[in-house]
Amino acid sequence: MSDDIDDIGDGKVVPDVSDVEALLRELDADDLRLAAPPESVWTGISEAIAADPAPVVALESRRAHRRSWILAAAAAVVLIVGVGVIAIANRGDSDAVVSSAVLVHDPATFDPLGADAAATAKLLDRDGRLEIELTDTTLPSLSGDDDLELWLIEPDSAGNPVDIAPVALIEASDPGTYRVPDGIDPSSHFVVDISIEPRDGDAAHSGRSILRGALESE
């Protein structure tokens, strides 16, 4: 086939076509039958999002909802100026914050790539679904060979790690919110850690922490 494909593009150099061809040759008949996920998946998505402060509706509706918040708040408090009200309306889930931690860099023991890093971690309870939200983040941009990873650590009474549980890889540009894995209890694993993890296939903590802090109740 490749002889027939060389003239693709009428003589132009099209380097990626060989990649496409290689991928196509890897496909089998099963690959071509992309099935919809089981309906239970959508049910789970709907339930998870229904527990969010923002419902699954188009933005216009959300904006209308925010406006109603703003009007109600303004009526009750007499006058609250825009920015603060919008912040309240956007936040909306302050009751769900169980605990929080200001994550700090320890220059004596942490990886120097995180010297300027900073973040706040909040443990959220969304109808029983525990999540870690990272806010106010300044995280280092890494090379393509490394990732940032979020961990929950169970310390002993002396502060030494007893257990280190992985939570999720972190997008430095989009830290976001991460579900606490099933089986991990943040009341025991209450130390939040962010580390640099090389893409070496080793799932264990690299030892290259950049930020850490202990969750404390609000």
Partner: protein
């Protein structure tokens, strides 16, 4: 992909799309990647995580930086690796306390394998969006491994038309997978 999914991406970015439409358009691709990488056991759970994460982070999606499909595939790859690490960790815990490993544990998969699976499923998904004839020609040529001459003999379609269809199809697929890697 086609105009429909482009429009969905633009709507998603501006907050005007409902999640069900996004899910209907891209759920099969996300689920296929998860299923190929993890098997049936973890595929549903991770697919669910991907769309919940995407919805919550929808303000971060920028159509100028890539397609919605590409963005979702990126989230999917990260969630698969998260899942594998979590499963491995749980398996280690069970081993530490002398329990048998769970038979439901997803198989191990490397990041490179996840990338490859994502590329394969992305191109399978893209292939599905091509017009019927180029899709059939490319399927016969690359999945079934027929030569252009054999395709002509089987289908009765002129050789030049077959070459033209395959050429256009490959260029469309290349454009798509380029977007998916962005």
């Amino acid at each position: 992909m086609g105009d429909h999914t482009d429009a969905l991406g633009a709507a998603f970015a501006s907050g005007h799309a409902d999640l069900r439409a996004i899910y209907d358009a891209h759920g099969p691709l996300v689920y296929a990647i998860c299923r190929k990488a993890l098997g049936d056991d973890g595929a549903g759970e991770v697919t669910q995580d991907v769309f919940v994460s995407a919805w919550r982070a929808r303000d971060q999606f920028d159509p100028a930086r890539g397609t919605l499909a590409a963005w979702l595939v990126g989230i999917t790859k990260r969630r698969i690796i998260d899942h594998v690490r979590r499963e491995r960790r749980h398996s280690d815990r069970r081993a530490d306390i002398g329990e048998e490993p769970s038979t439901a544990t997803s198989r191990s998969v490397t990041e490179a394998e996840v990338d490859r699976v994502a590329d394969r499923m992305t191109i399978a998904h893209a292939l599905d969006s091509l017009p019927t004839r180029p899709r059939q020609m490319i399927g016969l040529a690359y999945v079934e491994g027929l030569t252009h001459q054999e395709i002509a003999e089987r289908t009765g379609i002129p050789l030049g038309t077959i070459k033209s269809d395959i050429r256009r199809g490959l260029l469309a697929l290349r454009e798509h997978i380029g977007g998916a890697r962005s």
